[in-house]
């Protein structure tokens, strides 16, 4: 469904992603792991379109999207969430979700009719709020949410665009055990209908959820395959886990 061929990006003299070749199959949860600074967020940016690529090709459902604008990629079913929470902080939970719903349902070049008259928009948003575990918190301004709730909304905002493939950048960043469990449960719920490319440091979650795992080190993919195989892979253990660590 998503194919990366020799995708690269440099920032000045620094190579962030180096000839990355990767494939995400329809319906799977594909985890992308790697040490800090490996280039995972950069790669997510290149796939979603917020960063341009210096070389290589990105294909989504067979179509070349390498040079497509970010909003066009979202419209065609590819969404992302952010590692560092990036939402509309002064808007309420409901308004945040309603915006994403608005983006995919009709033109936003309407200047006269009040949005408040569009009940379906907000009903949809309320449904999504329920799906991500924020039922009852819709009227809360985002800045007032707890960290775990913000991360849930962060993912929810991406899901609200009804993507076919979602790129999740460390959704569990900074979460405690209970919150992480909630997030894992959410991902289990959505995997039936949405393909997921998951960047995560939480190894527990990765090995519970992933169908396949790819490992990114210093911008290059050093291994890709079933979770068990990756766990045992000598290079992965060396680069990521350290020689003497028993996983």
């Amino acid at each position: 469904m998503l194919e990366l061929r020799n995708v690269s990006k440099r920032f000045g003299g620094v190579v962030a992603t180096d000839e990355v070749t990767l494939e995400v199959k329809r319906g799977e949860v594909h985890a992308l792991i790697g040490p800090n600074g490996a280039g995972k967020t950069t790669l997510i940016g290149q796939i979603s379109g917020s960063l341009g690529s210096d070389a290589g090709a990105i294909l989504f459902e067979g179509r070349d999207i390498t040079h497509a604008a970010q909003h066009a990629r979202v419209r065609s079913g590819l969404a992302r969430s952010y590692q560092v929470t990036s939402m509309f902080k002064r808007f309420t939970v409901l308004d945040n979700l309603a915006l994403a719903v608005q983006a995919r349902s009709g033109s936003s070049f309407s200047f006269w009719r009040p949005v408040s008259a569009e009940a379906p928009l907000f009903d949809d948003a309320r449904t999504i709020a329920g799906e991500i575990g924020l039922a009852g918190r819709e009227a809360v301004v985002v800045a007032a949410l707890a960290h775990g709730e913000q991360r849930a909304l962060e993912v929810g905002l991406a899901l609200a665009t009804r993507p076919r493939l979602v790129l999740l950048d460390e959704p569990m960043a900074g979460m405690g055990p209970e919150e992480s469990e909630n997030m894992i449960a959410l991902l289990e719920r959505i995997r039936a209908r949405i393909t997921v490319l998951l960047v995560e440091h939480d190894m527990d979650a990765v090995f519970r959820l992933a169908d396949r795992v790819s490992v990114l080190v210093s911008g290059r993919v050093i291994a890709s395959g079933a979770p068990a195989a990756i766990r045992a892979h000598p290079e992965v253990r060396k680069a990521y886990l350290g020689e003497d660590t028993d996983v």
Binding site: S50, H71, R80, S86, F88, F109, L157, A160
Partner: protein
């Protein structure tokens, strides 16, 4: 109480001329008209600056384009406002489209500088148009005419015309802000990257916003030219852009009445200083009234440092606290 306030303002504005005594009427009607016109201009800037978060330092270009296009048409014998003012709006919209298309590809200080640069270009180009007065400006014999048995030459009639334009502009802004488009623009101001990431073509929305603001600014310019029966390149000077920004911040950026309150406050303050002598101040500095800009600058500085949400913001806070 808050919901009634706009209606009270409208009724007051409609009744104001009737309450004026005959001998003062001309001066105050003219002054009020000027406030309405600047309020419209400031409101148009409020759309892109306050609601859209785009720091444009070249808005005078659109007001000025509107002023000059309508003036040139008047001076060439086209007396009807039905032709002149739409032409002004069309011209300033086109200017906004052209300038916006290039400028909106940039961010931050580069955007500020490019909008400033384009406004300067328009200023210098107009300044060199000897055929239409050059740097001395262009005097118009008459105001534009609307027919329908109404003579805009009368200050009373022009007062109502300016008021109508402002009311239309404010209502339009109100509908816009609550529409789908308004939502997107405010979301873009809040977090542009995420707005793009949930599927909005941000550039197109910003450009549309820029053009709408340019159009409204152009109308204000056309009214300005007719009001004073005079136009000169200063209306395009970057300090005029600064003045409009001052009004928006003073009144309250991102608030519906921000432009109106700001224009009224700034012009009122200037008038107050110039025409109403304060004796103890005169004792310190004899001709302080000629240095009104210092007071205005001090007020602006104070607002920016201590009350950045502007007057409307402070009023809203007060209402929220007391409820």
């Amino acid at each position: 109480m808050r919901r009634a306030a706009p209606w009270v303002a409208v009724v007051l504005a409609l009744a104001f001329p009737l309450a004026m005594q005959a001998e003062h009427q001309t001066y105050y009607l003219s002054f009020a008209s000027r406030i309405f016109i600047y309020a419209l201009a400031a409101t148009s800037l409020n759309l892109i600056l306050g609601y859209g978060g785009m720091i444009s330092f070249g808005h005078a270009a659109f007001v000025g384009t509107g002023a000059y296009v309508s003036s040139i048409l008047l001076s060439e014998g086209v007396a009807s406002a039905w032709i002149g003012w739409p032409a002004a709006v069309a011209a300033s919209s086109l200017a906004a489209l052209a300038i916006g298309a290039v400028s909106l590809r940039t961010r931050g200080v580069y955007f500020i500088m490019i909008t400033l640069a384009f406004a300067q270009m328009v200023f210098f180009l107009v300044n060199s148009m000897k055929a239409y007065g050059g740097d001395e400006g262009l005097s118009l014999g008459e105001r534009a005419s609307v027919g329908l048995g109404v003579d805009l030459g009368s200050d009373l009639a022009f007062y109502y015309a300016a008021l109508a334009a402002l009311a239309a502009g404010l209502y339009g802004l109100h509908r816009l802000v609550h529409s789908r488009f308004g939502r997107v623009i405010q979301a873009v101001r809040e977090n542009e990257e995420r707005a793009e990431a949930i599927g909005f073509p941000v550039y197109r929305h910003k450009l549309a916003c820029f053009v709408i603001a340019g159009a409204a600014g152009g109308l204000a310019g056309a009214l300005l030219a007719s009001h004073g029966k005079y136009v000169n390149p200063n209306v395009l000077h970057w300090t005029q852009s600064g003045t409009l920004m001052m009004m928006v911040i003073l009144g309250g950026a991102g608030r519906l009445w921000g432009g109106v309150i700001g224009a009224a406050a700034l012009l009122g303050l200037e008038d107050l200083i110039a025409n109403h002598r304060v004796d103890w101040l005169a004792a310190i500095l004899p001709n302080y009234q000629q240095h009104a800009s210092l007071g205005v600058g001090a007020v602006l500085l104070a607002i920016v440092l201590f009350a950045p949400q502007g007057i409307a913001g402070m009023l809203a806070r007060k209402n929220a606290c007391s409820s």
